[in-house]
Amino acid sequence: MPYEPGPDVIEVMRHPAKGPAMSTLRVFGETLRGMKTTLARVAEGPLTIQYPEEKTPVYPRFRGRHKLHKFEDTGLEKCVGCSLCAAACPSDCIRVVAAENTPDNRVSAGERYAAVYEINLSRCIFCGYCEVACPFDAITMGHDYELSDYTRSDLIFTKEMLLAEPLERTPLRTEGE
């Protein structure tokens, strides 16, 4: 059965009445409306970031690639190889093998140091728990997010790589930016 809308339904007119003259007017009007938006953006200038030549700046608390730290005065590593980061890691991507400092080979300030410190960045989820767990602020999350590589094994970062001064590839968002 055909649908009978009944007396309560009112038909609303959403377009100019049909006919050639009115159609022309309608199309021209819509084109102008579009052009208004476009011309307004032209005046604003381009927004596209030309990655990788240009980079999005990150916020100070952005969690990128980890960094290991040394004491500035003594040059000793802050990490004592306690493995708490490995314990906290939900994706189990940190491996620490500790060893003992000797008078001839003093690496960290405590009795022990991390002989092996590896983070498998292909597995890391950048949650930052390692940074929270660290009792010596030896590991922090850096700002680097450019981590792609050609082989998976290259994504296992060793202690030397994590200790090295990172190439400041990522701009930091300044205040008010």
């Binding site: 004592v80 190889g81 306690c82 493995s83 708490l84 490995a86 314990a87 620490v96 500790a98 060893a99 003992e100 405590g110 009795e111 022990r112 009792p135 010596f136």
Partner: protein
């Protein structure tokens, strides 16, 4: 003393009804109903509680002050509260006081993550300290011994280690020095704490004050996995837990089994795990190449070379070392008997015992258990030195004497470390064991030849019915009928809590014998055509009657007497096939094929404790290098000799064994489980063939040594093993030739303690160092056997000459 009767008392802890055995301490009763009371110093294994740490304070209704629950036994109707404010306040304060001086270097400390102080601070501590004063400082870390590091700052003075040293191991070395906040653990004069059981204090320490040097900074509790296993370095067969990191054993902990080890380990068991992962270990097959040197080879090449034994039917022989499992011994028996159609297989390397006598000595009704040592009226230690031969039994005997009033009698040739604990200790001349036992037998019948025999007979007869005789395998075979006669006179048969307990020379000696690796017995002590024993195999090799020798984890030049004749015999052998984990001298010189042997942490199989307990070895780690399962290798060799075993897994080997040994019937690996199962207690034990003891033979009196010469006795130190030699941590213990002399003889010979001496006999000269011991009877000298160099097995006669070097 027999085991005490147990009565049950009822009490209330935190509103929960508890039924506990009278005499139980409140902490243990609380554990039954899942009420946790924190404590540091309490450890039931150490004996009486001391109440030193005050952590376990609880409120007992009717007593105005808080009481230490570790030293308060349960009483009928007691009402105990552990969570009222008063108790929590006390616990808070104890933690706060402990942390006044305890450094917060948890990230560096090896105990971090498995530390009771950490856990209790988190659970019962205030979370904040009101103390702002600087902490006490000591120099740290120091080495308490080459095996143990001590950090005195971390010590909370719980007395556990000191009590262990003084009341369990009884070496009396550890003490607290200084007083007050300056108190620390140490030895009297600061010498290193070196003792056979020192490693236990690492496990006892509730904080990180005492840590293991070999395990230092190796791993964190969350890096590791525990895997239950059995230590196979001596017949004690202690239950252990291997700590595994990255598929390597990095630590050994005790896995308490009161029927076996009581929760202790000796330092050999605790630290010789290092032998699993060292370069000295053989991890690939070796075959003697054209150059005459052993060269590494593929498994195909090695198995191919070993198949040559199939061409020597009727002329093959095998020696089985003590570390073999039951399955391996059973398979070797099949290779020799079925494959090589020979009868020459031996595992009792100290001499063959008649089959009837072997059966009688192994009879289930006559077996004492390890726990019986602790609850017997009298224990007689006969011809063995527990601390060397089965160390953990030494602690068990000390415990029985100290806590249960067990009367201890010792009869041995060499002075024993248990002498101070003994009611009576008798010495006989080395080699006169049979004579001594005949004298004791006569004394038990009422005709004591001397006061000593009379006193020993009185002690054994009148001291109480429960007598356990702990006897060493090195007793000569002719003395054993007398031993049975003595056991019969004391009524040890069919008596719970009494009996004989053998200390064999090999770890699994009992299981290997039961699996049929004896010249005169097949699986289950069944009758077989008699073959040659070890000494006869050597003679037959020299004569050319035997041309093939299969050495399973045994090196005759190292482990067997008459070294020179073995050297010649092995030189004559056409093919010598060996399984070994270390290339010892005899194998390096004479073996044609060496298969890498498994360590106990890699093995699947079963072994039998000297008291008849079957225990299961489980693989904790993968085989390192090219090592293959030994049962698999033996199955391959069996195939080459024409024996189709049909065995595809270690479990199938065990099934075949249970079919072949009647008294193992019905045993399954599941039933054995992690705690072991004593077959003498199963129904199938009735299937054990009855023994027949021959009448004791007349014995000849031993002649004393002629003027200027000494009677030779041998001993095998706890450290005399290849595993200890290649473990870096135990390098300081490596046994050297210590010639033990009586003071009178030393003076007569002009030898000083520690002087270099030479022991001469028939042109053989051994170098050694003199050790003058007051307990050594005059006219005897004791030499170390089983060591790498200058071992006593180079000497063949019983009289030696000791001269200054």
């Amino acid at each position: 003393m027999p085991r005490p009767e147990q009565t049950i008392v009822k009490l209330t802890i935190d509103g929960r009804e508890v039924e506990a055995i009278a005499g139980t301490m409140l902490v243990d009763a609380a554990k039954q109903v899942d009420v946790e009371i924190p404590y540091f110093c309490y450890e039931p294994k150490l004996g009486e509680p001391v109440g030193a740490c005050r952590m376990c304070l609880v409120e007992i209704e009717g007593i105005p002050k808080l009481q230490t629950s570790c030293s308060t036994p349960v009483r009928e109707g007691m009402v105990v509260n552990t969570t009222v404010d008063r108790v929590l306040e006390a616990q808070n304060s104890v933690i706060e006081f402990l942390l006044v001086n305890h450094p917060l270097d948890c990230p560096v400390c090896d105990k971090g993550g498995e530390c009771p102080l950490q856990d209790y601070t988190f659970g019962w501590g205030r979370g904040k300290s009101r103390v702002i004063e600087p902490k006490r400082h000591f120099v740290k870390p120091l080495a308490l011994s080459p095996l143990i590091a001590i950090d005195r700052e971390r010590c909370i003075l719980c007395y556990r280690c000191v009590r262990f040293s003084q009341e369990v191991a009884e070496d009396w070395q550890l003490i607290f020095t200084e007083r007050g906040a300056h108190t620390f653990v140490g030895t009297h004069d600061g010498h290193p704490y070196v003792a056979p059981f020192s490693g236990n204090i690492v496990e006892l320490c509730p904080v990180g004050a005492l840590t293991s040097q070999p395990y230092r900074f190796r791993a964190r509790p969350w890096d590791i996995e525990g895997a239950g296993g059995i230590c196979t370095l001596c017949p004690s067969q202690c239950n252990v837990e291997f700590t595994v990191r990255d598929d390597k054993v990095v630590r050994v902990l005790s896995r308490e089994n009161s029927a076996v080890d009581d929760g202790w380990l000796c330092d050999k068991g605790r630290f010789a795990y290092q032998a699993i992962h060292v370069d000295e270990r053989i991890t690939e097959p070796l075959v003697r190449g054209e150059s005459g040197e052993l060269e590494s080879a593929s498994w195909e090449a090695a198995l191919g070379a070993a198949r040559a034994i199939a061409g020597h039917r009727g002329r093959g022989a095998a020696l089985v070392g003590g570390q073999a499992t039951n399955e391996e011994a059973y398979l070797l028996g099949r290779i020799v008997r079925e494959g090589l159609q020979s009868h020459d297989i031996d595992s009792r390397l100290s001499g063959t015992v008649e089959l009837g006598l072997t059966r009688a000595l192994a009879a289930p009704a006559l077996q004492a258990t390890v726990a019986d040592l602790e609850f017997a009226h009298t224990v007689l230690v006969l011809g063995t030195e527990p601390v060397d031969d089965s160390p953990i039994l030494d602690l068990r005997i000390r415990k029985g004497v100290r806590r249960n009033g067990v009367k201890l009698a010792i009869a041995s040739a060499r002075p024993s470390t248990l002498d101070p604990n003994a009611t009576l200790s008798l010495r006989y001349a080395p080699g006169s064991e049979a004579e001594f036992l005949a004298g004791l037998d006569a004394a038990l019948s009422g005709t004591a030849a001397s006061d000593e025999f009379g006193a020993l007979a009185t002690l054994l007869k009148d001291g109480g019915e429960d007598v356990v005789i702990l006897w060493g395998e090195s007793l000569p075979a002719q003395a054993l009928p007398t031993l049975l006669s003595i056991a019969g006179k004391l009524g040890l048969t069919d008596r719970d809590g009494a009996g004989l307990l053998e200390v064999p020379n090999g770890t699994n000696a009992r299981g290997i014998r039961e699996a049929g690796a004896l010249p005169n017995a097949g699986p289950g002590y069944s009758e077989v055509q008699a073959g040659r024993n070890a000494a006869e195999i050597a003679a037959a090799l020299t004569a050319g009657d035997v041309t093939v020798l299969y050495l399973f984890q045994v090196d005759p030049l190292r482990d067997l007497p008459a070294r020179a004749s073995w050297d010649a015999a092995l030189g004559k052998a056409a093919v010598v096939v060996a399984h070994a984990s270390v290339l010892t001298e005899g194998l390096a010189r004479h073996a044609d094929v060496v298969f890498p042997a498994e360590s106990s942490a890699e093995k699947e199989g079963t072994i039998v404790h000297p008291d008849g307990r079957l225990q299961r070895l489980r693989a904790a780690i993968k085989h390192p290098g090219e090592v293959r399962a030994s049962w698999q290798v033996l199955v391959d060799i069996a195939k080459a000799t024409g024996v189709e075993t049909g065995i595809l897994t270690a479990g199938m080997a065990f099934q075949q064994l249970t079919k072949a040994v009647p008294f193992y019937a019905g045993l399954t690996l599941e039933a054995i489980g992690g705690r072991g199962l004593r077959w003498p207690e199963t129904d199938a034990a009735a299937e054990m063939p009855a023994g027949a003891a021959p009448a004791p033979a007349k014995v000849q009196a031993t002649e004393p040594a002629p003027e200027g010469k000494l009677l030779l006795g041998t001993y095998r130190s706890i450290w005399a093993s290849t595993e200890v030699e290649i473990s870096p941590a135990l390098a300081f213990t490596i046994a050297e030739q210590l010639v033990e002399l009586a003071p009178q003889d030393a003076i007569a010979l002009g030898i000083e303690h520690g002087a270099a001496v030479q022991v001469a006999q028939n042109g053989t000269r051994l170098a050694g160092r003199a050790a003058i011991r007051t307990g050594v009877p005059a006219g005897t000298a004791f030499l170390a056997a089983g060591i790498a160099e200058n071992s006593a097995n180079a000497l063949t006669e019983s009289i030696v000459e000791v001269v200054k070097a």
